[in-house]
């Protein structure tokens, strides 16, 4: 369990739990899907055990949906730096290849 400190947890090269995968993406571009039909792409500068995130050079896409779950429009926004609250995070991944 994560609350017992082992040699593995002090070794940054070992991947043993899901948040270790996030650690591998530090300083890299990531794709993050959020609740509320939003996605963001940015450079990951920091995270914590709640999945709160710090991202820079961010592009956010908001999908505005109608009552039949069809996409009415998308809104794109850019930010230099932002904080994401962990309980809004659905997934964190390397950027998708488009």
């Amino acid at each position: 369990m994560a609350d017992v400190t082992t040699a593995d947890q002090l070794d940054d090269s070992v991947v043993s739990e899901p948040l270790d995968l996030v650690r591998l993406s530090l300083s890299e571009r990531v794709f993050v899907k959020l609740k509320g039909d939003r996605e963001i792409r940015g450079t990951l500068h920091g995270y914590d055990s709640h999945c709160n995130l710090v991202l820079s050079e961010v592009e956010e896409t908001v999908y505005v949906m109608d009552d039949d779950s069809d996409v009415l429009k998308t809104i794109k926004k850019q930010s230099e730096m932002l904080f994401v609250r962990g309980d809004a995070v659905v997934l964190i991944s390397p950027p998708q290849r488009t």
Partner: protein, 88 residues
């Protein structure tokens, strides 16, 4: 962790005293001066503009914003300010 990184709550702490733009999980946003926050990212904001889903604005002099529904925080940001929002 030996990796050096910028912890999320450190970023919020750096914003205390300056303008911040808060995006909620719903289609609501707040822009104000950050006076303080706690471990749950509940926030005290002053000189606040609330933007609802329809684009209506309300001014509030000081609020305690419940952190439960916050999605993102953008330092120094204003919804129609320096960051371009484009519709497609």
């Amino acid at each position: 962790m030996a990796t050096s990184q910028l912890l999320p709550l450190e970023l919020v702490d750096k914003c205390v005293g300056s303008r911040i733009w808060v995006v909620m999980k719903t289609d609501r946003e707040f822009s104000g001066t950050l006076l303080g926050f706690d471990d749950f990212v509940n926030m005290v904001l002053s000189d606040v503009t609330e933007y609802d889903a329809l684009g209506n604005q309300t001014h509030l002099s000081k609020i305690l914003l419940n952190g439960n529904n916050i999605c993102m925080l953008i330092p120094g940001g204003e919804p129609s300010g320096e960051n371009g929002a484009t519709e497609e």
